[in-house]
C-alpha cells in the first residue's frame, strides 16, 4: 500500500539507469594521485632542488669542490660571536617563552572575565613580523625612546640600552623583543593542547588529594608533552632564524647567524659563504629537532 503518490510520468526505474555500464574495477590512476601530485612536485622543485643547489654552493670554490667557503666562514671575525649570540639567545629566550606561555595559558584556564578579550590581545603578536617587533621595541629602547623618557619622568637617568658598548643590555633588549613577539605561538599551541585534555584527570587527581602544583606537575604537564614537543621544535628552529629583530634594534652590533648570512649575501656579495652559514643553521635545526624528539619521546606509547 502506497501513500506517497508519485509524480505523474515518473517511473521508479528512472532512479536507476538501465543503460549504465558497471565501472571497471581499479581502472586508471587513483584519484588521490592527481590531487597530491601538483603539491608534491611543487615542493620537490622548491625545496629539494634548492637544498641540493645550496649544498653545492657551499662546497664550491673557484676550482670546483672545496671547503674554502667553510674556512672563510669560520675565519670571519663575526662568525663565532654570531654562533655564540644565537646559541645564547635560544638558551635564554626559549625557556622564558615556555614559562610565560604556560603561565598565560594557565591564567586563561581559570576563566577570568574578559577572557575572550585577553585572548585576542595576547595573540596579536602572532601576526607581527620580527622586523616590526624590532621596530616597536626600538621606539622603547632607543636613546630618546619611551623607556628612557619614562625613567626621566621618575627622575632616573637614562641609559644607552642599545649601544654596542653595553652588550648585555643590548642582548636583553633583543630578548625582550623576541619574548614579546614569539610567545604567542607557544601560547596558542599550549592552549590548544590544554583544550584536548579532559577535565576528568584533573578532577580525579584532586579527589585523590593532589594540590594545584602537584596536579600541574603530574597530570597536566605530562599530557601536554606532545604539544610542548611540537612547540619546542618549531620555536627553536625559528629562534635559530632570529634576524630582523636584532637588525632593527642593534644594527650589526649583535651578530647572529642569519644576520651573517644576509651580510655575506647582500653586502659582501658572496653566496658561497652565505650558503655555508645556511647549512650550519640547517644542521643545527636538524640536531635540535632530533634532540627534542628523543628527549621528549613518549615512553608510554605501545612499541
Amino acid at each position: 500500500m502506497r501513500t506517497l503518490p508519485r509524480a505523474p510520468g515518473e517511473n521508479r526505474r528512472a532512479l536507476g539507469d538501465p543503460s549504465a555500464t558497471p565501472a571497471r574495477r581499479g581502472a586508471g590512476r587513483p584519484a588521490w594521485l592527481w590531487l597530491i601530485a601538483p603539491s608534491a612536485l611543487f615542493m620537490t622543485a622548491l625545496f629539494a632542488w634548492p637544498l641540493l643547489v645550496g649544498i653545492g654552493q657551499a662546497f664550491t670554490g673557484p676550482d670546483g669542490f672545496s671547503a674554502a667557503n667553510l674556512r672563510r666562514m669560520v675565519d670571519d671575525p663575526y662568525f663565532w660571536p654570531a654562533v655564540r649570540n644565537t646559541a645564547l639567545l635560544i638558551v635564554v629566550v626559549v625557556p622564558l617563552q615556555f614559562a610565560l606561555a604556560l603561565a598565560m595559558a594557565l591564567l586563561l584556564r581559570e576563566r577570568p572575565r574578559f577572557a575572550g578579550f585577553y585572548f585576542y590581545v595576547w595573540v596579536i603578536p602572532l601576526a607581527i613580523s620580527d622586523l616590526a617587533a624590532g621596530l616597536v621595541w626600538l621606539s622603547i629602547f632607543t636613546d630618546r625612546g619611551y623607556l628612557n623618557s619614562a625613567l626621566a619622568h621618575l627622575g632616573i637617568d637614562g641609559y644607552a640600552w642599545l649601544s654596542y658598548q653595553h652588550p648585555w643590555s643590548m642582548f636583553a633588549a633583543v630578548v625582550v623583543a623576541e619574548l614579546w613577539r614569539a610567545t604567542s605561538l607557544v601560547f596558542v599551541i599550549v592552549v590548544a593542547g590544554m583544550q584536548g585534555i579532559p577535565r576528568d584527570y584533573d578532577e580525579a587527581a584532586s579527589v585523590f588529594g593532589a594540590g594545584y602544583w602537584q596536579r600541574l606537575r603530574y597530570v597536566l604537564l605530562p599530557q601536554l608533552r606532545p604539544s610542548l614537543q611540537v612547540a619546542l621544535i618549531l620555536r627553536t628552529i625559528l629562534a635559530l632564524e632570529t634576524f630582523a629583530v636584532a637588525q632593527a634594534l642593534t644594527g650589526r652590533s649583535m651578530p647572529l647567524l642569519v644576520g651573517e648570512t644576509y651580510q655575506w649575501y647582500t653586502v659582501l656579495q658572496n653566496p658561497g659563504v652565505a650558503s655555508a652559514i645556511a647549512l650550519v643553521i640547517l644542521a643545527l635545526s636538524l640536531l635540535a629537532a632530533i634532540g627534542y624528539l628523543r628527549l621528549l619521546r613518549d615512553r608510554t606509547a605501545p612499541r
Binding site: L15, P30, W32, L33, L35, I36, P38, S39, M43, L46, W49, P50, L51, V53, L106, P112, W122, V123, I124, P125, L126, A127, I128, S129, D130, L131, A132, G134, L135, V136, L138, S139, T142, R144, N148, S149, A150, A152, H153, V188, V191, A192, G193, Q195, G196, S227, L234, L240, E241, F243, Q247, G251, T261, Y262, T266, P271, A274, A278, L282, S285
Partner: protein
C-alpha cells in the same frame, strides 16, 4: 589560584606587556618629528600629528612596497590554495600508501629554515630570469605556506563527515557534485582561515623577500634595506605600518586559531 584579584592583575599585566608597546609605536608614528627629537618624549597623545606617517608613506619605495606585498600576498594565497586544498582533501579522504610519510614530510619541511632555501633559490631564479620579480617571492612564499595549508585543510575536510558525501551520492549526486554542494560549503570557513593564515605569512616574511629582490621589494624588505639610512621617525612609522594589518588579521582569525592548532597533532 583561588585569588581572583591576583588572577585579574596578572591578566592585566600580561595584556599591558603585549598592548603597551603597540600603543607606543602608534604614538611614535603619529608624533611630529620635532616632538620626537625632544627629550623626554611625550608619553601621551599630546602632540599628535600625521607628519611622520605622511613623510614615511611619501618615501620612495614605500607605496611600491605596499603594493608588492599586497600582490605577492594575494598571489601566494591563490597558488597555495590551488595546490594545497586538493592535497588536503586527498590526505583527509584516502588512505593511500605513503599517506603517513607524506604528512611526515610536510611536517619536516616546516622544520627547514627559510634561509637555507632563499640563497640557493636566488641563484636558481637568476638563471631562469625570475630574479627580482614578484613571481619569485610568490613562489618562495607558496613553498613556505604549502605544508601548513595542506595539513590544515586536511583537518578541515576531515571535519566534514564522509558519510555526508556518501549520502549525497546515494541520493543522486556525482562525486564532483557531492563535493561542491556538501563539502565546500562546510569547509569554506576553514579554508578561509587557511587563506588568511597564508596571507599573513607572506605579508610578514622578511628574509626571503629581501634576498630575492632588488627593486621589486615587498614592504618588509623595503623597510629592512633602508633601515640604516632612514631617520628614526620613519622607522617607527614603518613599524606601525607593518603592525596595523596584524590587528585586523588576528581579529579575523581568532576563532580558527585554536581549531587549527588543535587539529594539527
Amino acid at each position: 589560584m583561588r585569588n581572583r584579584v591576583g588572577l585579574h592583575l596578572a591578566c592585566l599585566a600580561v595584556t599591558a606587556f603585549v598592548g603597551v608597546p603597540i600603543y607606543l609605536v602608534a604614538l611614535a608614528a603619529f608624533t611630529s618629528r620635532t616632538a620626537l627629537n625632544e627629550f623626554p618624549v611625550p608619553l601621551g597623545p599630546t602632540d599628535v600629528s600625521t607628519e611622520t606617517m605622511r613623510g614615511f608613506l611619501a618615501t620612495t619605495g614605500v607605496t611600491g612596497g605596499f603594493l608588492n606585498s599586497l600582490m605577492v600576498g594575494l598571489a601566494t594565497v591563490v597558488l597555495t590554495l590551488v595546490l594545497g586544498a586538493p592535497a588536503g582533501y586527498a590526505v583527509a579522504r584516502y588512505a593511500f600508501r605513503g599517506h603517513d610519510s607524506y604528512q611526515l614530510l610536510l611536517l619536516l619541511t616546516r622544520a627547514l629554515p627559510i634561509v637555507v632555501l632563499s640563497v640557493p633559490l636566488a641563484r636558481v631564479f637568476l638563471r631562469i630570469g625570475l630574479y627580482d620579480t614578484t613571481y619569485a617571492v610568490t613562489l618562495l612564499h607558496t613553498a613556505l605556506a604549502l605544508p601548513t595549508a595542506v595539513l590544515i585543510s586536511s583537518a578541515v575536510f576531515v571535519g566534514v563527515p564522509r558519510e555526508q558525501e556518501e549520502a549525497a551520492t546515494v541520493f543522486g549526486a556525482t562525486p564532483a557534485k557531492a563535493f561542491l554542494r556538501i563539502v565546500v560549503p562546510q569547509a569554506l570557513p576553514g579554508i578561509a582561515a587557511v587563506a588568511v593564515f597564508t596571507f599573513v605569512l607572506s605579508w610578514n616574511e622578511v628574509l626571503g623577500a629581501t634576498i630575492l629582490t632588488l627593486n621589486q621589494r615587498t614592504l618588509p624588505a623595503q623597510v629592512l634595506t633602508t633601515l640604516s639610512d632612514s631617520p628614526l621617525a620613519y622607522r617607527f612609522a614603518g613599524g606601525l605600518a607593518l603592525v596595523l594589518p596584524a590587528l585586523v588579521f588576528i581579529a579575523v582569525m581568532r576563532r580558527y586559531l585554536l581549531n587549527i592548532w588543535g587539529t594539527l597533532r
